[in-house]
Symmetry: C2
Subunit: 207 residues, 2 copies
């Protein structure tokens, strides 16, 4: 996804990004050295600088790309004609599935925000707000047409996203419950928290 800050090789750059993503997620940006990343890729530390101008640019690349891909993925999945309740259900399922499948990138995006230099931080924050606005939009539509009962759509959007993202902190694929079951539980909790009619849980069985 470009953003390689002055370089050419896309092949090696991708391997660097992938190694950095894993290492940053496991031990944190500050605790991981360029030497370590290079070692994982199989090159010398100096070679990384052919692909990313410095460690900060590497982090920025990971966070920006993650947010751009997340937004693009939802835009591809969203369905404009859908009613708010179905839309919120679709979002909840999407968010859980996407976040669980990209847990390293998600983790970094929450944990390493503070290690971004101001300009990079603003860029990522704007992308995050774009994503949050999707939920706000759904909730407001639901408020207008009376399907939801909410005091404040922005607060509720944050609350719902926090709840859904929380799955990542404990989900393990070997766990007690399948992802489908977890999706089901969270979807019903999200819909109820938004004040959607509980009886509408019938349509949950659709997907």
């Amino acid at each position: 996804m470009a953003r390689t800050s002055g370089s050419i090789g896309t092949e090696t750059a991708e391997r660097i990004r992938s190694a950095a993503e894993q290492l940053f997620a496991a031990r944190g940006f500050a605790a991981v050295s360029m030497r370590e990343i290079a070692g994982e890729v199989g090159v010398q530390a100096a070679a990384l600088y052919n692909h990313f101008s410095n460690k900060q640019a590497l982090l920025e690349s990971l966070l920006v790309t993650h947010m751009e891909e997340l937004i693009a993925a939802w835009e591809a999945e969203a369905c404009a004609e859908e009613g708010p309740e179905r839309a919120l259900e679709r979002f909840a399922r999407f968010h859980i599935r996407y976040h669980v499948s990209r847990s390293d990138a998600v983790f970094i995006s929450y944990m390493e925000l503070r290690n971004l230099e101001p300009e990079n931080f603003r860029r990522v924050e704007n992308l995050r707000k774009t994503y949050e606005a999707f939920v706000v939009g759904i909730l407001e539509k639901g408020l207008t047409c009376g399907e939801f009962t909410l005091v404040d759509s922005r607060i509720s959007a944050m609350a719902i996203i926090a709840m859904l993202t929380g799955v990542n902190t404990w989900y393990r694929s070997q766990g007690r419950l399948s992802l489908a079951e977890i999706e089901e539980i969270y979807t019903s909790m999200v819909l109820r928290s938004a004040g959607a009619l509980p009886k509408e849980a019938s349509c949950l069985a659709a997907e």
Copy 2:
């Protein structure tokens, strides 16, 4: 609160803990140096080692004490005779208020878990499980007596805690809404997500 790992002075130790808490919260455990902490306290770096055996022990002290105090605070606030719905409401309000008031410690407790050595990690994890068990207990009581509608009390407990803790990521005391208003919104969302009867929102106006 003890845990000073071989030292005496409680006065200086507390100032070290306080400085470390602020710095770790602002920039992360790995990115903060012992010299920096010492500078904030107004002593030389070597003096820190009279109070904490090393940097790891300092982090452990912060996380363990935070969890112990959190648990003690809830135990002091919980009310055994209360019904599940009122208990869940009380918990939601408590959790938000406590977490907002101790945001640095809360932030560190989530962000720096991975920087704990295995034994310290286990100790903190056990305390965290103890806290989560409070919510599981409330939910199960509510399930038994039919006040709540849930598929899985453990998952729902995690979801509720994640939602509530999320307040810390965006709350600012100068913000658009007062803490009381935020508390109100979250309480109603939590109760609804647990399947409590929406009409019972009447009792929310009590506090």
